[in-house]
């Protein structure tokens, strides 16, 4: 993936970007996308105001509510920081040094992305829990009790391990875009390798880091699987408790709106961090020099190995163990083909639809930069940060009452996926478009092609690889989606994710392990292609 969200001057020579009005079609399409984003918000507002202002005040001003909001914010901050701390060295080690087997390490480092959080949380507890596997292994060595895994430490660890790849992928892409001439310039001016990295390379990586960090932070706010399994009282937990205990959707809607407000705050902070700098995203004229690690080779390998061990090997290993144990005890395993096919089919559709929906937003944001297009881009994140249950119920509300012909069809489900995961596609599409020089499009216009034709026949193919990358990312995330699938899918629609849920809710671990492993296996393929494809570029 190339550098996301880096703004870049049009011709790299200091000319200001032209401010033009976007064509009506483009504006209309982008407007439709934003309107779709707004549906869940409309639902929330309707529900929230059912109880009147008093109820809203009661919920919002409750000390406990604010404390929980603070806890969620703390979790998101810590996980984001930890993800960045893991990803930047990983990206650097696999992209710029002579680490042995770095191609393989890059793929392995990205793979934890495909593990659903509700699976990962489970595994973490069973490995690191007070009576888990690790405890069992260490007990003969005299370790009485491991440090507490439940609560904040466990939740932070689990979320970090399974969402850091978002940052890893974006930083890796950004690293490719750094002009090696700049690092050479710094070295010619007397900076050693470390100083060059800190003073020159790292600032260049900032847009990539921020883009990935945003995805991680907002994901933490919306996630429910991990925080419920590891028993951390986060905001999403609070929302779920309301739904599960009170059957009164009003307080839940109010809480969800507070979450939206928090999201807006996060987006605002992100906007400010962009700063004055404009990053010249030059495609590197030559590949960057690799840095020889020398005696740092062993620590580097240990670092990579450690991360991969906890984030990938442990979950897959535990799942395999459960499966083997279940098979050994003669557990019947239902065939998974239908569920697997449904997963792939639905995720594929979601990927295609989302990539298409991302196009107008991304084109608007890149070619017609301005306040409005910036707001449009930000708006796409609102659907991302909402817990799945909220999104699902909002579409239940609209679907059942206003579009019954679409309700509980695959189409509406794919629509829900698109709303939920749009920012992933927008980010990568934007960065791909940034690398297409406007002069190429203008040349095509000069040859008599209209704007839509140019977009389809010139821009899209050139930006194609980035757009595909965004689609792949959406595919991977949709494969593991659960709450919307349960409520909005056609009745009887089964995916691997719903199968895992069905089994884990009754502690049939072997029956959960098989679909989980299959889900991981299937998802690994597009991810592998995604990562190694970059090398060919």
């Amino acid at each position: 993936m190339a550098v996301p969200t880096a703004t870049r001057t049009e011709d790299g020579r200091g000319a200001k970007p032209r401010r033009r009005r976007p064509p009506l079609l483009l504006g209309g399409l982008a407007g439709l996308v934003v309107a779709a984003m707004a549906l869940p918000l409309v639902y929330l507002v309707v529900r929230a105001f059912e109880g009147g202002w008093e109820e809203i005040a009661e919920v919002v001003l409750d000390g406990d509510t604010l404390a929980v909001l603070g806890r969620s914010a703390l979790l998101a901050s810590v996980v984001t920081a930890a993800s960045v701390a893991i990803s930047v060295p990983l990206a650097w080690l696999t992209g710029r040094t002579d680490l042995p087997g770095r191609r393989a390490w890059a793929v392995l480092a990205a793979l934890p992305l495909v593990i659903p959080s509700y699976v990962g949380g489970f595994v973490l507890v069973s490995v690191l829990g007070p009576r888990g596997m690790l405890q069992g292994w260490l007990e003969p060595l005299g370790v009485e009790r491991l440090p507490e895994i439940y609560g904040f430490p466990g939740a932070a660890l689990a979320l970090t391990l399974f969402s850091y790849p978002y940052v890893f992928l974006t930083v890796r892409g950004a690293l490719r875009g750094v002009d090696p001439a700049m690092e050479e310039a710094a070295r010619s001016l007397g900076s050693g390798a470390w100083a060059t990295f800190a003073r020159v390379t790292l600032p260049q990586l900032r847009p990539g880091i921020v883009a990935g960090a945003l995805l991680v932070a907002l994901y933490c706010l919306s996630d429910f699987g991990v925080v419920s399994l590891l028993q951390y009282e986060s905001f999403s937990n609070e929302i779920y408790i309301q739904y599960r205990s009170a059957f009164d959707r009003t307080p839940a809607a109010i809480l969800a709106l507070m979450l939206v407000a928090l999201t807006i705050a996060v987006l605002f902070v992100e906007g400010r961090t962009r700063g004055r700098a404009r990053y010249h995203g030059n495609a590197a004229s030559r590949p960057a020099n690799t840095v020889a690690l020398g005696r740092w080779r062993l620590p580097a390998l240990l670092f990579c190995g450690g991360v991969v061990l906890f984030a990938l090997v442990a979950p897959v290993g535990v799942l395999g163990f459960w499966l083997a144990r279940g098979l050994a005890e003669g557990e019947p395993l239902r065939p998974l083909w239908n569920a697997a096919w449904s997963s792939i089919y639905a995720s594929g559709l979601a990927a295609a639809v989302t990539a298409l929906a991302a196009l107008p937003v991304a084109i608007l944001s890149v070619r017609f930069r301005g306040r409005v297009s910036g707001l449009v881009e930000k708006a796409t994140y609102l659907g991302y940060a909402l817990p799945g249950i909220v999104l699902a119920l909002s579409l239940v509300f609209f679907g059942a009452n206003y579009a019954p012909w679409a309700y509980q069809t695959l189409g509406l489900l794919v629509f829900a996926y698109a709303i939920h995961f749009l920012p992933q596609a927008v980010g990568t599409t934007r960065s791909a478009l940034l690398q297409v020089r406007p002069s190429v499009e203008e040349a095509a216009r000069g040859l008599g092609r209209g704007p839509a034709r140019v977009a389809a026949t010139v821009t899209a193919p050139l930006a194609g690889s980035g757009i595909l990358a965004g689609a792949a990312l959406v595919f991977l995330t949709t494969m593991k989606e659960l709450p919307a699938t349960l409520l909005l899918g056609p009745t009887g629609f089964e995916t691997l994710a719903t199968r895992i849920w069905g089994a884990t809710s009754e502690a049939f671990f072997a029956r959960a392990a098989a679909p989980a492993l299959l889900l991981i296996g299937i998802s690994a393929i597009p991810l592998y292609l995604l990562v190694i494809r970059e090398r060919a570029k």
Binding site: T9, G12, R13, G14, D179, A181, M182, E184, A185, A186, R187, S188, L189, G190, S191, G192, R199, V200, P203, Q204, R206, G275, R276, A277, R278, Y279, H280, N282, S285, N289
Partner: protein
Amino acid sequence: MSAAVRLQGVGRSYGPVTAVRDVDLEVGRGEVLALLGPSGCGKTTTLRLIAGFEAPDAGTVEVGGRTVAGPGINVPPEKRRVGMVFQDYALFPHLTVFQNVAYGLPGGKKARVEEVLALAHLEGLGGRMPHELSGGQQQRVALARALAPGPEVVLLDEPFSNLDAALRVRVRAEMRDILADAGATAVFVTHDQEEALSLADQVAVMMDGTVVQKAAPEVLYHNPASRRIAEFVGEANFIPGTHENGRLSCVLGEVPACGECTGSVEAMLRPEALRLRALQNGGVAGGEAGATVISREFYGHDQLIKLRLDSGPVLCSRLGGGPGFRPGERVAVAVSGQALVFPKP
């Protein structure tokens, strides 16, 4: 006084491909050397070998009298005290102009930065960000940044190729002045012979990975060591002839010539050496040849006239910016100046 840069027997290969072989070069202090050659000739590699971004397979590199590369020695770039200006300037986009220039100065000495900014005619621009500057300004910032730490030598990699033609000439002059004012030693790489000839004190022509001639611009222009060099460094006319005792017999008559080989030779005449006279009614005088004009390229300050001699060969002549001649006109061609002879290929 030791040379600022000295390369001896330097070679570098990438697998089966030899980029640079057996290069010997010396750059005196305060001198500007141009590395000139067609693409792929190894000039950029040579530059990077001096900077330290590549290590030589053979030979030694000395900077400021100190061996920085050679058998068992490879001093990293940050320790070589070599400044570098890149083709795309490589300015740090997240730093201001001031901060960019101050980057290589430990302690960021304000006075020195101001001094260098003034030297590069960038006063008052210290607070700007790189993307807010024009191409020419960015280039000067890159140069200032390289000069600020007072390096032994400044290396420039095709520094003008990113600028449009009109800008190029002016920027070249500015750069030459800045380097002279700073008293800096510089080595720059270019494939543009005009650039090399106009800017450099010495020009080293590289072809196929090795230095084929190193000389002052005039010497290079008027006395190229081989036919290939002659063709590369400016327009050249080649006609066969016989050379004996400093006189060449050819279709243009008897012409003074210099060069070592005698007998049947190929003689080179620069376009400036061909004089044209309108031929009205026949009548070529002695020492002249008749020709018909084929085409004319008018450059404002001069023009290049392509003509076909009655005896066959096609030559070109450079005239001043006057009326000139149109295609189809009949002219008489005379030689004013010397021919340079090369062995017949």
